[in-house]
Symmetry: D2
Subunit: 465 residues, 4 copies
């Protein structure tokens, strides 16, 4: 799903989905490899660039080392690079690849040498008032090297820090001026400070090392870094972690909460738990709801790998129909494979996914995916299944059609490219060549996440801010 | 499975598994991108190096261009590289990564400028008498730049070709001296010649373009290259494809046949069909046989992604137990991720696979994989499942323990590293911490491939040559 | 000489010698290649990094492109790089390699996107009050990425520009606060503004294109860029060049002038003319003065290539003794040749220079160089000459011993490394093994540059500021 | 001169000028850095590629390591590369850059693993019967990867070695079949064998280490490697150097000798001594002869740097006229500077050489160079001198016009590009705009090299073979 989105997404430069990570090891053990592992577990949140900044809390003041570059964690961090970095405290970042804003100047962490020392910052989310903040800073002579709102926050923090007693005080002052959805980790050579937006739009959680702490966008990054899940950071909470332990400041806490439903639909990893909800359970339950809403009598239920598989399992369970894999996925064909010519576009789909004919032949089946963007890929898949002998192909989508822009960090393609903007479900069904098509209903989204207050603005135009 | 094997395999320099591909387009259309697509579909057969050689059948005589390098197809062939290559006839190769013999000098195709022009050669398999052939050539002053038996065949072919009327005549003469299992495609600037060993140990099949032909190790490479499956190359058949059509020479055909069972167990891709057998069906049937042999009363059946999933589906079907995914696989963590230190080895497993707790908690389950090499990975997985709350973990392996070396091209780890060589199944079960362990029985292998004559020497020490 | 200096220079991060270049072509022709040529002619002023920024005066507002990197002009600018740049206005820079401050973050031009657009800046010289300026900026939240005073000027200029009507107004305001010796060219997308420090310590001159202008550190860069020498920029003059022509502001002009004598001794190129004095003539005259002061009866006069050759010619002329080349210089052995081990250090000298035995054998000779730093190289040369059969070797140095630091941009090694700081001329003569040694006298420096007011502070401790 | 030649030279793939080097250190000290130094001193003989092969005479049999690549010695061998090589015996090579045959496959040494072990080979010169030898080998199935005759010799040697008792025996057998001019060093893991062609066309000399030996194309490479000159290798001599000392085989010695005059005119370095003649003396004497033949009354004599400087000194001495430098050479502008467009060609000359106006103004002068190829560069220089105020410019060329091809390794441009082929000296004089022009006379060449028998075939069409 992510790849389909990125293929069609275009411009709005400040929008992005990312993963953030922070760690401090009180025993003084090196954390660079654990940051790599953590970022590896968060890689699904962003494949454009990766980076880390580290420091030694016992070292000379102000010494933050960093490395960041375009590419996957495995490309940016080789053994020889890691050998040049060391420290027992650090932050890391993976950035989502959106066409247009792809640039090394937007790679994070931002590490800035300022009057009082050095600080590093990583950020996931979107600041809706970043243009005003940017103008205000630029008017003082601040020069921006990239185009992201994360850089604006970094400079804002530096300027605020100069007239603040501590970095956490500066973070609190800056956060009071930020609007939007965000999770930020700031780092001075001896401290990490995490903050989550007051509505809890973006996720951030806390884990515990044997002797130290971890902050991460998702809980799936904790285990690989050797940490155990403690709790989610509260919406609006500023958490400061130093050699002396944890300090929590909830002065920005709000009554209203609005957790992004997209995290459960496809951003977050299956094995993550966010604000009390297992992502896996959410998707199973979504599939079940879809089955109750749009049941159909078929022989097998399957999903588009990997984004539709779990909702398909839920759909199958609800109806007591066997769940089976019907596609072979080629995991070697990723971002960097030679671009298909127009003529090769159909063959390119075959390169990524091919049908297992033995399963499909003569069968009536349901195919579940998490979304339809332009519809061309789904049309190809339906055609492939029919060619392999499928008697019926019923498509089920585990999210409602998104019709409205997201201002809080989800990079939704522009209207003109979204098939749901120009066609009705019936017309889409015809266009993709399916026997039937069913979308998740907005009111069924609650079944995924129980009573968690959700932001569903991209579906229902109901914005919290 | 492949990755586990490669981690522990060590030395025997001449052993390798590879994928070969050949194509000719009578209409004169460029084939370079189709070779890339074909190699992309064969990438599972080898990730060490990739290469292609192409020529224009209407161009000046003798002009074969090529490019090869270490890495995945997507790394070796970028758009700019492809732009420098063109032709309507070509061969391609992907090479398996085995420790020790990893070298750019072993990358294929071998393209040699000799007295009568230029020829290119790609090869999958192992020649058991290559040392004698190599000595004979070296004694005439031939210099080898790599260590592979493929290079020996290439030089042997050049020397033979000088005193032969055609390349197919030379191929026939050389093949008559080769022992072992192999699929070879040789190419002159205007012809491609394919040959499969007389016992059919290694696979090779023929596809048809709108106006032209394709040869490939597996049928899964045909569709992406725009071809339709025609038939398998016969064991011992020499097939010559030119602008004038196809010519078949079966003078080397043998009565005896012995198809490698490993292709069905894990080399070949699910959606390939070889010698009349769907690989998917073979694995489903293997799982069913395993279920009949070692049934157990559990709540769910699952497999290790991706190698054990389909046998697990078969196992589940046979017993009527639900098949469910229990692991989240991180597809971003591949060959090149930073190597774990000893201390991090356990965390590294978590980075690749993590348990979906919601599925596992409180459940009795069967976990299917296609093999156990050293046992450490399986032990980790069992431990992870138990930690996530699994009440029972029963392990089923969809192949017998391999106990004997393969002389025909399968890179089996040395005895000392194979857990099955030192421990009984009961001891292995204890070591990996499972509640029960069941291996596929040698006599059940027949259920996978019907009445196909098989080479099972690595299991039963019964070698055909 | 430059290389010897750089070998021993160490730390003071803000010191540097550089070359600056600016160009505008009113006809709209591309200037990128002419900038390359100009920088190539200024390459002797700095080999650490090179860069250029260009813009199209008819293009969309604010579009300045740039490229800069570590290395020689020929390494930084290849054809493919140049193809990515275009414009009819631009600035360029070459930077001197001093140990310690060598970093890509110090490469110029500095190109900054600020509130009102983009500006680029190149700078040669040293600002003595840069620390105060830096603190003042940092206190407003400005973040510096390198360590050079040039970056301080750039940010100071940005901040000033925001509250100024034009860039030339901003340059004038900034210049009024700068202390030290400098030549600066600032560039907005449609203008270039040059300024030279009020004392004329650093050089800057103006050339005329057929239809346009060039600014350059030295006149030798004009011809290769297709320009003719017009005049030197006046000390303290701010010159603004736009599509509408040239504007000159002399509000900062000072009565006092102090041109750096080092430019004539060795920084500038032989074929440059600065403030009315030909560099070649200055060196010939220096050699003549040296000959008058320290004549000696020898067979031939020679110089250390290339730094001592012209003073040697002057010395020879004055005494009517033949000037001959006695060393073969290896021009392939430059900055990047493998570093010699301690044991190889003597051989390394041989690699750079070797004696022409036929010339030297049985001869009494004078060897001229422009300076002695540690004395080890000169000692080696004298030894080589004696080994080749020289009967007498008299060393003459065409500058006085430098004994005091330079605050205006010349990177003089620290005291402890300067042989002249610890030894008397007699002791140095003995240490280098010469038959006699003569240094240029401070009072003779005037003969090089006629009545030009000079800064000779490094020799006489007499600082203008 | 070399650069001018290479600019216009075109195709004949087998022609090349190169430098060879071999070394053995009986004390077992590493020789890799000394090979670098030696190749650095031979760099003027070839700038296209560089390489070395080394072995440890006390190490395991057959272990020859090597590294070679396109580029200068300083580019091919960095510290990190050298750290990967070690041995106390080795050979090295620098290759001349000729358009057309420039390819990494022609880089030397050729290192071949053959039946009896490994051997390496470096070669300077040209084999006139290489096509026959190549056919003979190709007919046995030998495959060539490059296009140089050096590779032919290497394979011929391998094939011969298989049926010989020692490498020196094989070298002698091969040499008996070679025709042309050459200097070759072959190396087995424990021996180096040098050979010079029977006529002595190509140079090769022997140097002595404290405990070991060096072979090199020119004596200038000995000092930097820590060796003292012993003697030239005799024409036709095969010299074998092992741990046991030196062995000399003169069975191929010929009565006739023909030393290449071009080595003295411009190939060799000034400080080299070849076959008893100092290169410096040869050029001084050439300049003197030129002065006697074409005297002229001028104020100063100068030369084109660097190729014409010494002949100019000789010219000046003979007539008692002052020799002075009139050009500033830019040593930073080498092979890799951006190529000039047609329009920039004149400026490009200025970038390399600029006139010192002060010297030239109002003067009558002689300008000496070693050759004229197309005449365009010389015409530019004359024009530059006149523009700078020269009253008269008399051109003198220190070699006769070359009119005939060289079959022994000198890469002479094709006839159509040589100005001397289409124009008479008078016409050339007019074309280059000189006041007078004088070429060295063929009969005067003897004055350069005393009674040394010379090959002057490129001037007089008198070939020895």
């Amino acid at each position: 799903m992510c790849e389909q989105l990125s293929e069609v997404s275009v411009d709005d430069k400040l929008n992005e989905e990312c993963g953030v990570f922070g760690i401090i090891d009180y025993d003084g053990n090196d954390v660079t490899r654990r940051i790599c592992y953590g970022l590896g577990a968060l890689q699904h949140r962003g494949q454009e660039s990766a980076g880390m900044a580290v420091s030694d809390t016992n070292g000379p003041k102000g010494n933050i080392m960093y490395h960041k570059d375009m590419g996957l964690v495995s490309e940016v961090f080789r053994d020889e690079t890691l050998n040049g970095l060391s420290g027992n405290i650090g932050v890391g970042h993976v950035r989502y690849s959106t066409t247009g804003s792809s640039s090394k100047f937007n790679a994070q962490p931002f590490v800035l040498n300022y009057l009082k020392g050095t600080l590093a910052l990583v950020h996931n989310g979107n600041i809706t008032n970043s243009e005003e903040l940017k103008y205000e800073l630029a008017n003082e002579g601040i020069v921006f090297h990239g185009t992201s709102d994360s850089e604006v926050i970094a400079y804002k923090l530096v300027r605020t820090r100069i007239r603040s007693a501590t970095i956490e005080e500066a973070v609190a002052k800056v956060a009071a001026e930020l609007k939007g959805g965000y999770a930020i980790i700031a780092m001075s050579p001896r401290k990490i400070v995490g903050i989550r937006d007051p509505f809890g739009i973006k996720p951030l959680c806390l884990g515990k090392l044997e002797n130290g702490y971890v902050l991460a966008s998702e809980s799936c990054a904790l285990t690989v870094a050797g940490a155990e899940f403690v709790r989610d950071i509260e919406p609006g909470e500023i958490i400061t972690i130093t050699q002396d332990g944890i300090k929590s400041d909830i002065s920005l806490k709000s009554e209203k909460r609005a957790h992004c439903i997209f995290e459960y639909i496809y951003f977050a990893r299956l094995d993550s738990k966010m604000d009390g909800i297992n992502v896996y359970d959410a998707r199973i339950n979504g599939g079940r709801a879809l089955a109750r809403r749009y049941p159909v009598d078929v022989d097998i239920v399957s999903g588009v790998p990997d984004s539709g598989l779990i909702a398909a399992e839920g759909y199958a369970k609800e109806l007591g129909i066997p769940f089976e894999l019907v596609f072979q996925k080629n995991s070697y064909v990723g971002r960097t494979f030679i671009k298909p010519t127009q003529e090769e576009r159909t063959r390119a789909v075959h390169l990524k996914l091919s049908v297992l004919e033995s399963v499909v032949k003569g069968k009536r089946l349901v195919l579940v995916d998490d979304s339809i963007v332009r519809g061309t890929t789904m049309a190809n898949l339906v055609k492939m299944l029919r060619k392999a002998g499928a008697k019926e192909v019923h498509v089920r989508i585990s999210s409602p059609p998104f019709l409205y822009p997201c201002y809080y960090g989800t990079d939704i393609p522009s209207n003109s490219q979204l098939i749901a903007n120009s066609l009705s479900p019936e017309e889409i069904c015809e266009k993709i060549g399916a026997d039937s098509l069913g979308y998740m209903q907005i009111e069924d989204l609650e079944t995924m996440t129980k009573d968690l207050p959700l932001c569903k603005a991209c579906f229902d135009n109901n914005y919290i801010i």
